[in-house]
């Protein structure tokens, strides 16, 4: 009866503009939702508000100057971003990185993954509607990590600490103790989030079965990182093509089942345990002293002509650097393969047919960093 009656009316979908100024677009992302009542019928994303031409700018600069730009493409996991870049430069310049520097890099990258995932947990908590609490809890733990990064690199977000060939300078003498201390609080933080969100029934009701994407579709969209692992694809560059010393540590690739928002959240949470495990193993295996730069570093870093694609597993997925050199001291072409932009492609598939509130948490669960999307 009611439905027959309703069909007599000509109804029109409402266009709802979300962003670029909206509390839960995580930066300057904009999407236009086509809304039928409360149900999303179409999603049109707009990106580019944060485009700075970082790749192009790098072509005008010395290899070492480019590191700072790579930090800024992925400001929540800058160590991971610069790692890809310096590894690409090292591959072209044929530099051998000392073992100790590799361990330190690995520790810092995993800690950066922790801090980035904490950031995700906090922001996601706000997306599902808990007032401030998860955000503050996440920031408390992240603050510990960032303090450590500051002690090591001198900066809280834009580290520029990895250099082609090794590290800018050695870590502080109490590095290992400090890392162990930070890991302790991080472990507590993960446990807190388990209590605060994972065991909350409303949270489960909101996230389970929402925004599901199948493994096949996720692969077609070129997703990577926790977002694709949640769909059941064990894709992890650290396991598939081990770089640094990842072949010498023991860790599991966390894989979800349903590919819904809950799985994407839970995969990240579980990954943090694995990161803690990796860092602990690194601390045991890392030599206490040794060089952090190759003995013969050229004053002017020049590379042979050639091209290279290096990918590493950043917190949001595969962060790749495609670097073309025609000789000389600067890149001829630099291309960043951003994980976020590929993951974001699937936004429409995930959110069409869901409620408006679901579209928001779907966006949150992809965990985008807009500066990486737009570069």
């Amino acid at each position: 009866m009611v439905t027959e009656h309703a069909q007599e009316f000509e109804t029109q979908d409402l266009l709802l503009n979300v962003g670029p100024q909206h509390p839960s677009t995580h930066g300057v992302f904009r999407m236009v939702l086509s809304v039928d009542g409360e149900v999303v019928r179409d999603v049109v994303p707009y990106i580019g508000y944060l485009h700075r031409g970082a790749e192009k700018l790098c072509e005008t600069m010395d290899y070492r100057q480019g590191i700072g730009f790579m930090d800024r493409t992925e400001y929540l996991a800058a160590f991971n971003a610069e790692l890809s870049y310096v590894m690409a430069v090292e591959a072209l310049a044929e530099l051998e990185v000392p073992e100790r520097a590799q361990w330190i890099r690995m520790i810092l990258c995993e800690l950066n993954r922790l801090s980035s995932h904490f950031m995700f947990l906090g922001a996601f908590g706000i997306d599902v509607g808990v007032f401030a609490t998860p955000f503050i809890y996440a920031w408390r733990e992240r603050e510990e990590l960032i303090d450590l990064f500051e002690e090591v690199s001198g900066d809280r977000m834009m580290y520029a600490y990895f250099r082609p060939g090794g590290l800018a300078w050695d870590v502080p003498r109490n590095f290992k103790d400090r890392v162990r201390q930070v890991l302790k609080s991080a472990r507590q933080g993960v446990a807190d989030f388990n209590h605060l969100l994972t065991e909350n029934e409303i949270f489960l009701a909101r996230t389970r079965g929402v925004g599901a994407i199948s493994a096949a579709e996720a692969i077609e969209w070129g997703m990577s990182g926790p977002s694709i692992r949640a769909s059941g694809v064990p894709l992890d560059v650290r396991k598939d093509e081990p770089y640094l010393k990842y072949d010498q540590v023991d860790f599991d690739v966390i894989v979800g089942q349903n590919g819904d928002v809950y799985d994407r959240y839970y995969c990240r949470l579980m990954e943090m345990h694995e990161s803690i495990k990796i860092v602990e193993q690194c601390l045991d295996k890392m030599p206490d002293s040794g060089p952090i730069m190759p003995e013969k570093m050229p004053r002017m870093l020049r590379t042979a002509p050639g091209e290279v694609y290096i990918r590493t597993e950043a917190p949001r997925g595969e962060y790749g650097i495609y670097l073309v050199s025609k000789g000389g001291n600067r890149p001829y072409r630099l291309k960043v393969r951003s994980a976020c932009i590929s993951n974001l492609q699937a936004l429409k598939d995930m959110s069409v047919g869901q409620y408006v509130a679901d579209a928001i948490i779907v966006l949150g669960s992809i965990d985008i960093v807009l500066s990486e999307v737009d570069r």
């Binding site: 409402l14 266009l15 709802l16 503009n17 909206h22 509390p23 839960s24 809304v35 409360e38 149900v39 019928r41 908590g125 706000i126 997306d127 599902v128 509607g129 808990v130 007032f131 401030a132 609490t133 503050i136 809890y137 408390r140 605060l196 969100l197 909350n200 029934e201 409303i202 949270f203 489960l204 009701a205 909101r206 389970r208 079965g209 929402v210 599901a212 199948s214 493994a215 096949a216 579709e217 692969i219 769909s231 059941g232 694809v233 064990p234 894709l235 598939d240 093509e241 894989v255 089942q257 349903n258 590919g259 069409v352 047919g353 869901q354 409620y355 408006v356 509130a357 679901d358 928001i360």
Partner: protein
């Protein structure tokens, strides 16, 4: 005609006017206090300190905020519907304040104890939905409109369990007059005999007040504040004033109906000051739990919200009314009520858990079956 106000013989109209002015002034101060308290409580839960710089212990923070809001420009979007936009806040604010007429703060301190007081309270406070819709429509903003329609749907849905929970208590007490209701609770508060009605009332009150987990109409992360997204300055503060005044009156009504208001169950009455302290403590308990829930749980989705009211709360509230009627007609012992109430609470908790855990029915296409995950090497290649 004369009336008695604190021992003064006054004209009825003058008496009423003085009482109203007193109440409105008191409310504004109380609302400021509530906002301060909420910020402090939330800060403690968040391991922060909260306001501390403005005045001793940050006590003047709300005053500073109010002054700032008064000083701000009263903006109105050019495309807004002028009348509905400007009047919306008052239509939210006035019905809420009308509710204070029936609340007894202490034994002889109230405006009017109407015989159908609770009915009046519900009727008056539900009028504010009109204000929400006016604000949403008048703003000419799509977030505001969605928020307003959500508020209307939610307000109407949760009005029913709220009313039925009160009706159940009214049947048991035999009156809708809050003063008489409190007088009957001198030994045992009604929450003991009516635990399920109290729980249903509490949940529905959360929804009526748009508090987490039912803050869908104003959901910050979805509709950016809902109906008041376009408001600024003094008009915006009206929404806030109304929200906290509604919270305060709801806690007063809860404490009066279920917790015995200003009465102390174990002993003699100790005077007006003690009664006021008791009222504050009982209402404060309600307020604290509301804040506690606010900072702990996520927001529900609109479909979950609606089905929870219609499929869970409403039937249980109806059963409570039925049982209360049977007990009254047959003259059974109150212990039966207590037993039923406890069973009811257990049922409510179970049903809520099951409803939350139920698989989700998506409004759009049926959920796509997930393709089996490819083998490890295959995916990586």
């Amino acid at each position: 005609m004369t009336a008695d106000l604190f021992g003064l013989e006054l004209n009825v109209w003058a008496d009423a006017a003085i009482r109203l002015v007193l109440i409105v002034t008191l409310m504004t101060v109380v609302v400021m206090g509530l906002i301060y308290l909420e910020r402090k409580i939330i800060a403690r839960f968040n391991q922060r300190i909260g306001p501390q710089r403005t005045g001793p212990f940050g006590l003047l923070q709300s005053v500073a905020d109010a002054l700032k809001l008064v000083g701000k420009e009263d903006l109105r979007p050019r495309s807004a519907d002028a009348w509905t936009f400007e009047l919306g806040p008052y239509f939210i604010f006035i019905p809420v304040f009308l509710g204070f007429v029936i609340v007894p703060f202490v034994a002889d301190w109230h405006i009017r104890l109407l015989d159908l007081g609770l009915l009046y309270f519900i009727a008056a406070s539900s009028l504010s939905i009109i204000g929400w819709v006016m604000a949403g429509w008048g703003s000419d903003n799509r977030y505001a409109m969605i928020g307003a329609l959500r508020a209307a749907a939610q307000g109407i849905s949760y009005e029913l369990p709220l009313v039925l929970a009160l009706v159940a208590v009214g049947i048991y007490a035999g009156t809708f007059n809050l003063g008489e209701m409190i007088a009957q609770q001198d030994v045992v508060p009604f929450i003991v005999w009516q635990p399920m009605a109290a729980l249903i009332f509490f949940i529905a009150a959360l929804a009526e007040l748009n508090r987490t987990p039912f803050d869908i109409p104003v959901g910050e992360s979805e509709v950016v504040g809902g109906p008041f997204v376009e408001y600024s300055g003094i008009r915006w503060s009206m929404f806030f004033l109304a929200e906290y005044a509604a919270l305060f009156i709801m806690s007063l009504v809860f404490s009066a109906v279920f917790l015995g208001g200003f009465l102390w169950p174990f002993g003699d009455d100790l005077g007006r000051l003690f009664q006021a302290a008791l009222t504050t403590a009982k209402a404060g308990l309600f307020f604290f739990v509301v804040v506690w829930i606010r900072i702990s749980v996520p927001r529900l989705r609109i479909d979950q919200l609606m089905s929870y009211s219609w499929k869970v709360l409403l039937p249980l509230a109806l059963v409570q009314v039925l049982v209360n009627g049977l007990v009254l007609v047959n003259g059974w012992s109150e212990v039966i009520l207590l037993a039923f109430g406890l069973v009811g609470v257990a049922v409510l908790a179970t049903v809520t858990g099951r409803a939350v855990a139920a698989p989700r029915i998506r409004p759009g296409a049926a959920r796509r079956p997930l393709a089996p995950a490819p083998a490890h090497g295959e995916a990586a290649s």
